[in-house]
Amino acid sequence: MINVIGFVLLLVVGYLFGKYFEKRHYKSIIKREEQFNQLPAIATKYPPQDQVYQQQLVSGGVVIASDYFKSFVAGLINVFGGRVTPFESMLDRGRREAILRMKQNAQAHNANYVFNVKLETSRIATGRLGAIEVLAYGTAMIPAINPISAEQDQPSATPGA
């Protein structure tokens, strides 16, 4: 009996908190995505030739855990098959957040674009339940004001700094 109560309690707590955190996260993602509209992340590997750019590797990463309710529903869906929507939104959040953090790093370097953006997802095992890690990285193209002086003081490579 106590087991059942504990289980239901975990489900309810997971549902309420999980939903609240997700809503809040999406709100902040949408807000920041608008802010970073001026800094496009592009998946092409050929750099722009319109002016002289310095290159700098930038990255952004995030680890997101699923909540108890999501894990339970995903387990249920697993029995019948079909779209595992609870995890889809979690992955979407992770990817968008990682891209935003990468752009934030790029902006700190006064970059115009981020080229050759790569996204990578991996499962981080935390005991029984799951969490995912998303990493976004790319090359920030920083316009060099003076090409000669830019050549002399190459940026020290600190990706993700």
Partner: protein, 107 residues
């Protein structure tokens, strides 16, 4: 040392290819963090401790990559790729690799 995940550097010439260089780092957090993380698994949301951990690992792996590149006389590493794999509960490996080259600026 220039590090980039592009294959082309505008206004530069690659004068020498020095082969593949790599760096890796396996890290784990202390048990307290793991317990906090499993609690967080009830509520959902970001695991800040792990985000930090992986960030540190990535920096360390990149440093090792750069050290290796420096040793063989490169001044740039191009086409850099990252990969993460979870090895055991609470430990993750970050692997970074790229091509070490020697570049000179075009006049």
């Amino acid at each position: 040392m220039l590090i980039s995940n592009l294959e082309i550097l505008p206004n530069h010439r690659i004068v020498r290819h020095l082969g593949l260089v790599q760096g890796s780092s396996v890290r784990s957090k202390h048990v307290g963090r793991d317990i906090m993380a499993s609690l967080k698994n009830i509520f959902g949301g970001e695991l800040l401790g792990y985000t930090e951990l992986l960030q540190e690992s990535r920096e360390e792996a990149t440093e090792r990559l750069l050290a290796q590149a420096q040793k063989i006389g490169a001044n740039a590493v191009l086409n850099v790729r990252y990969s993460t794999s979870s090895i055991a509960a609470g430990a993750a490996e970050i692997f970074v690799y790229g091509t070490a080259v020697e570049i000179v600026a075009d006049d």
